[in-house]
Symmetry: C2
Subunit: 193 residues, 2 copies
Amino acid sequence: MNDSMEPLGARLAVGLVHHPVVNRSGNTVTSSVTSLDVHDLARVCRTYGVGGLYIVTPLEAQARLVERIIAHWTTGYGSRVNPERKEAMRNVKVVDTIEDMMDNFGLGMEGAAVMITSARPGPEVISYSEGRQLLERAPRAAVLFGTAHGLAGSALELATARLAPIPGMDDYNHLPVRSAASIILDRLLGRVD
Amino acid sequence: MNDSMEPLGARLAVGLVHHPVVNRSGNTVTSSVTSLDVHDLARVCRTYGVGGLYIVTPLEAQARLVERIIAHWTTGYGSRVNPERKEAMRNVKVVDTIEDMMDNFGLGMEGAAVMITSARPGPEVISYSEGRQLLERAPRAAVLFGTAHGLAGSALELATARLAPIPGMDDYNHLPVRSAASIILDRLLGRVD
């Protein structure tokens, strides 16, 4: 466990994006929220000391669902039976758009970095050690994860850097977003020998 | 992506262990199979070229359930609609015990390594770079992941090496086994800059 992990992670937000994403045919769509993704990502973000997990969905009913899940674990019955889950869940927010996430986390400030992973054309590809250096320099940073078959073009335009693809991600879509996010946060924040 | 990843991964088996594991109180129990764990681990193992994923459960009804899931995706309807999942699922086997897994994958041979992660007393703790060196040397190797609150004592006795805990694993059980397994396989097989 890296001693500098906590402060680095606190400057980083994770966005789980349900719009704009592409489907199998490459069309821009809005995907459904998978409640398990919210649970797993909340636990991974808590583990690595991430500053905030943003569930991005423009669908009102889906946003209400996620808010109910969060409330159950942070103030409802779940908070009394599972205090560890409470800690993980209280850092989760629901927003309509990636722009709302950026406003909320201060990602508009000078020097802020918005990282994505994508095999599609986009900003310059950087390695994970370059990603860590970026995190050390940037006052605020984010990593966006696209659900379905990945972020759509308009989301890629908001990115300032593209992390090198991890095996099985983007190319054949073999990895669940839960696994991909776990691996990428470990590479950025959990470096060990 | 490491060029030597394929051959290294092929010598490695992953065991998802439902018995013997411990519950929150530290008692040895048999946990239920979570079908999503099977799907996610199958995809992660396929991505990193792992030689076999073993679902270890002594419960007959649970074993039948996992076999039905595997059959659906490898020979049933699922195999026709999702060929990627077919590829991932055909490397999954169900076994009664860890010993059966070891027999099936040749883990009894001279020099074979059985790795675990655990905060409990057990064999010598090694780093992930030592784990990769072990994989390069060993004719066969395995990593065992305990569900519930981790592997019970009798499973630890089969281990020849203990990987350093990853943050949030073992200590507070913050990470789902799906995330922990993704991170550990990436550290062992997916090393990049």
